[in-house]
Subunit: 341 residues, 2 copies
């Protein structure tokens, strides 16, 4: 069933069928109706490959996500997928694990010819402009805070929260309650990832409240996984370090950390308050419920593809959006108990 068949069936030329299919003018209402009718009755579907070939552009937009294990991304993927579909595009998803050059070069570059645009989700924050060069289609970084300005701001589209500021607010919350010995659980401190941005916010908040950061109070899980978070927290908790609160860079990690705390004899929030950032739906159902900075994931997904499509379809250029997180108070934060010493 090709356009040629339809043409023959209607007694018109291929060109005419093409015109009605693509909703172009210069075709009489009668013919248009007739063609439409046979198209429907034969339920003919234009061959996408042929279309792409001749127009040299497709309807595919890529979603490359790093670290699918992070449940926060599941939420975002969901809305990104929904929005891409709604706009009539096709989403092709690609997961990457770690090696960052996969992004700039191989995996994507290979597909590039087919893609109209790309949304990056959860990549590290230190793409260099150089790495990004091979990408010639529009792209937007979702959940990517360009605060460090590593990327020239006029060449990057992104939507995110201000990770540093968000962490700052969270930690300040703890300080306001009187906490002075505040531990942190991060995924890593050596790259310019979301983890480090939030870590810096933590440091800044401590300093602004006159607290000297202590090396011994920051646990590094090495990844965003619950398993690693549990292990790292356990290590911290059994290390003899004294702290009355913890700042944790992600909800999922916080949930694991809370278990680690309790497994080592500390009750949350009585013995240790916990505040996190992400705002998973899930963390309203744990015990205790999590006090956390909610990222507007719905909005982040929507805006990401809106911006991307604006670029793809030439309606607008680069744009970056910094969204405001919202503190959701749960049961994991309380004032510190009176110091024992």
């Amino acid at each position: 069933m090709t356009i040629k068949d339809i043409a023959r069936l209607c007694g018109v030329s291929v060109s005419t069928v093409s015109r009605v299919i693509n909703d172009r003018p210069d075709v009489s209402p009668a013919v248009r109706a007739a063609v439409l009718e046979t198209v429907r009755s034969c339920n003919y579907i234009p061959n996408n490959s042929a279309r792409v070939l001749v127009r040299s552009n497709s309807d595919a937009v890529g979603l490359v996500v790093r670290g699918v294990s992070n449940p926060f991304y599941s939420d975002i993927i969901k809305v990104i997928g929904r929005e891409i579909d709604a706009a009539g595009y096709t989403m092709v998803m690609q997961q990457i694990n770690s090696s960052a050059d996969e992004i700039g070069t191989g995996a994507i570059m290979e597909r590039e010819k087919k893609l109209r645009g790309i949304v990056f989700l959860g990549g590290r924050s230190d793409y260099t402009a150089e790495e990004l060069r091979p990408i010639t289609v529009p792209f937007v970084c979702c959940s990517y805070d360009n605060s460090f300005g590593v990327l020239p701001r006029d060449r990057l589209s992104s939507v995110s929260i201000d990770d540093g500021q968000t962490a700052y607010r969270a930690v300040s919350e703890l300080c306001a309650l009187g906490h002075r010995r505040i531990a942190a659980l991060v995924a890593g401190t050596d790259d310019r990832s979301i983890s480090e941005l939030r870590y810096h916010g933590y440091l800044r908040a401590l300093k602004d409240h006159g607290i000297e950061p202590e090396e011994a109070l920051v646990a590094c899980a090495g990844s965003f996984s619950m398993e690693d978070a549990y292990r790292a927290t356990r290590l911290l908790a059994s290390g003899g370090a004294e702290f009355t609160a913890m700042f944790i860079i992600a909800d999922a990690m916080a949930i694991a950390a809370i278990k680690a705390l309790e497994d080592t004899g500390r009750e949350v929030p009585r013995d240790c308050s916990v505040i996190a950032v992400d705002g998973l739906a899930l963390s309203q159902y744990t015990r205790p419920t999590l006090t956390t900075m909610c990222q507007p994931s719905e909005r982040m997904g929507e805006e990401s593809v809106r911006i991307l499509l604006d670029m793809i379809e030439g309606r607008a250029g680069n744009r970056s959006l910094v969204l405001e997180p919202l503190l959701r108070s749960g049961g994991s934060v309380a004032p510190p108990r009176r110091a024992r010493d």
Copy 2:
């Protein structure tokens, strides 16, 4: 940069270049090397659309998933994506919400021309053979238990656990501890979904243990979401019904249900044991940890694409796999307290 350019650059014909690109014989080692070299140095990538057009088959396999909110699917999506990539195919993901005909017809049918195969994740269990007819490419249903035999077994590939039997085992576990009044939380009872399969296992287990099922003890959430699960459980718990244990068809729902139970004054497992099925990594970190029937999600994902690719590449025909779940004991189950009356 087309195949023609490469040909010109090498001083050979287009055919020859095509031959070396596709790793076909009938080309001298010298020429092959030369072509390969220029291909690399120009980093030429064959135009996929043209390929697909002429060969009339692509490298895309579809993943259509219903209910992305279910965190169990996140795990599976992850491994499915990984495996599809590894095999050199491209994954295009499509979410659907509810209306089942989207599956059989529209969304897929539209894309069909491009897809080599499809893996369905989380669709309802009552596709009719009729609905499936329009799908002409190989497909496999992941996490789909065809126990009801609604589909002719020789026309369907699937990989799943035996949902009924799994629920049966879970509930039997409760019975063995002495529980007699066992409530159930399901997503729905009216369709032939996973929810109903598990629900039937629950009923069967009760009967086999001489317990008369009670309408009043089954709560229907209406979906797999935590929100609905919480609401339904709360309703059940505040309804005056007496029960010492709950069987819940999904981990995520169980987590929400536990909160509902505790919010209405019942402690888990002291006042009410909870057993679920899924086996999310997450549920090892909640408090209490969840006793649950673990689905081998890793294996399910792997086998799904293995089966699919076997069909696509003509290595094998339909195949169905029923995997064995594993009971993971957590802290949410205990013997019933002595009856009060």
